[in-house]
């Protein structure tokens, strides 16, 4: 299937060319936007193929399965790839409408798009690591965008902590290779039930820690606010809308697909961490004052909801996790892009995002909360019903406290420039549209959740 290779090759070539050009010049930025858009179109065609004909596969070099590195695209991968690419496009366009502060920025966006697409398209565990590092390294550089001393310090923490996460992941991959004898994820999945219990749990834990660090889950979150606080809106949007998808996708792929037995055993731990994350993120966000800091803690809280869905599991649980992750990415992109601008229209767009985070109809976030709610009430866990209520109330408080501080009082802030408010408006309309016409996204997330094999009790 040549269509699998097309987005990756486009982004790859684009990234290498852009790395050599001056990204602050308008034609170069337009070229970057064109490449990214065409990659999205190619991914869209691929999505059509995947959704109508099922999982697409390409074995690199024509070697037989198990020897060759496989590229494999299923519904789960394609959903995350589309969302991440769209978030990257929105952030790039936002920066291009203002002004691009560093010549390397478009190339970095392209490299990150390449890494993310590769992660979501690969069917090989080690290849996953390589693409993972490509996107992480571009994130490390991107954390310095703006070049203030504060960002250098934050970026250093970011690199050291996330590099440790990558090392854990690498160790996990090596352990999987040793215990199963394969690197191809389908073959690993078949072999995994035969692996003894202790090594499997140890490996699953190491991989869980690695992805939790990327996600900024509660006890591994400490790097996240520092990085988000000093950074520019577009970069914060990329980190929380695109880069965090690695964590969610990784937990789904490795948890639900490769370690379903260990995921079930670890579910109580996951639920405790998720509850702690929701409450800690919410309370911290209420107490903070700078917009980026509030939103950063809000991200820590939102991750908890995805984790609850994952811990409950089953097809409905995975579908809820995918749905929540997608809507959360859209919310955070809108919020980070709008909160540093001023003006009435921007205020309305921000309010849409804020309602969405709090989960109030008719905006998109309601869907995610509704899915979760159905899940926990069906399971009859009243603690989670209360938790979701409390979490929602907290997010309502911090979102509108921020709204009041940013949009109700006259003050400084970036002057409104019209093109950016159009972009933010489009994002807001998109989120409302998801809320009003939810069927496509619901079907997509259910489709994505069906890629996992049924759990055998």
């Amino acid at each position: 299937m040549i269509l699998i290779a097309l987005p990756i090759l486009l982004l790859w070539a684009g990234a290498v060319i852009l790395a050599m050009l001056d990204g602050t010049r308008k034609p170069v930025v337009l070229f970057a936007i064109a490449i990214l858009t065409s990659a999205i179109v190619a991914t869209g065609f691929l999505a059509h193929e995947v959704l109508t004909e099922g999982t697409q596969e390409m074995l690199l070099g024509g070697w037989p399965q198990g020897i060759s590195i496989a590229m494999r695209v299923d519904a789960l991968g394609i959903v995350f790839a589309l969302v991440s690419l769209l978030v990257l496009l929105a952030a790039l366009v936002y920066e291009a409408l203002g002004h691009i502060g560093a010549r390397i920025f478009p190339a970095l966006v392209m490299f990150m798009a390449l890494g993310l697409t590769g992660i979501f398209f690969t069917g090989d565990a080690f290849n996953f690591y390589v693409f993972f590092e490509i996107s992480m390294i571009s994130a490390y550089v991107m954390a310095n965008y703006g070049e203030t001393p504060r960002q250098f310090r934050a970026a250093f923490i970011f690199i050291v902590v996330n590099l440790l996460g990558s090392v854990f992941f690498l160790i996990g991959i090596a352990a999987i290779y040793h215990t199963t004898g394969w690197l191809d994820m389908v073959l690993i999945r078949e072999q995994m039930p035969l692996v003894a219990e202790n090594p499997a749990i140890l490996t699953a834990t190491i991989i869980f820690v690695a992805f939790s660090i990327k996600l900024g889950l509660f006890p591994f979150h400490f790097w996240l606010p520092a990085v988000y606080t000093g950074t520019r809106p577009a970069v914060a949007a990329i980190f929380s809308g695109a880069l965090a998808n690695i964590g969610t996708y990784g937990l789904l792929r490795f948890g639900a697909d490769i370690f379903p037995r260990e995921l079930e055993q670890g579910a109580p731990v996951l639920m405790i961490l998720a509850s702690a994350s929701i409450i800690y993120g919410g309370v911290q966000a209420v107490s903070r004052h700078t917009p980026n800091e509030v939103l950063a803690y809000s991200s820590i809280g939102q991750v908890g909801y995805v984790l609850i869905a994952l811990a409950i599991g089953g097809e409905a649980g995975y579908a809820a996790a995918v749905l929540y992750a997608v809507i959360n990415a859209a919310n955070k992109t809108l919020l980070f892009l709008s909160v540093n601008l001023r003006g009435k229209a921007i205020g309305i767009a921000y309010a849409v995002g804020a309602f969405s985070v709090a989960g109030i109809p008719p905006v998109g976030g309601f869907l995610g909360k509704l899915g979760l709610f159905q899940l926990v009430t069906e399971k009859g866990d009243w603690w989670f019903v209360i938790l979701i209520f409390v979490g929602g109330a907290l997010s309502f408080v911090y979102m509108f406290e921020l709204f009041r501080r940013r949009f109700w009082v006259p003050g400084d802030g970036e002057a409104v420039f019209v093109p950016a408010s159009v972009l933010v408006g489009v994002l807001a309309v998109l989120i409302i549209a998801i809320g009003l016409w939810p069927e496509p996204l619901l079907q997509l997330s259910e489709h994505a959740a069906r890629v996992f094999p049924e759990r055998v009790p």
């Binding site: 250098f152 970026a155 040793h178 003050g411």
Partner: protein
Amino acid sequence: MILAFSIAVAVLFGAGSYLLLKRDLIRLIVGMVLIGNAANLFIMATALRRGEAPVLPADGPMSDPMVQSMTLTAIVISFSTTALMLALVYRVYGAHSTVSIDDLAFAEESESQAEEADDAADFLDSWSTRLPDSDLAPLTTSASPTEARP
């Protein structure tokens, strides 16, 4: 053989973690390099077979070529991230003229305190009937700058 590998990995990882806890950015990077190499050695140790170098034609059993290629890739990646970290330390040094974490923490603290004061002032201007200054400040600053300095 596995025992020797385990001990070597443990020593490397332990030494790396020890260096990570030091209050100096350069030592921190050396610690990361050691931990990265512990991971590389771990990959080598996960080989499924041991034997001759995996080059055809071979007489006797060959060692597992898969782990060697994985290690090679991991070495390249950790090399590039090390270079990136060193470049970043240089930028930090350029901005602060120091690579000591204590001094950087001090700079961080005074910066955030200045911001906090600004924030509180804005807050009071906009909402003059609200809380006095003293109620706002301690929420986010736990340690005073004099304590942060050794």
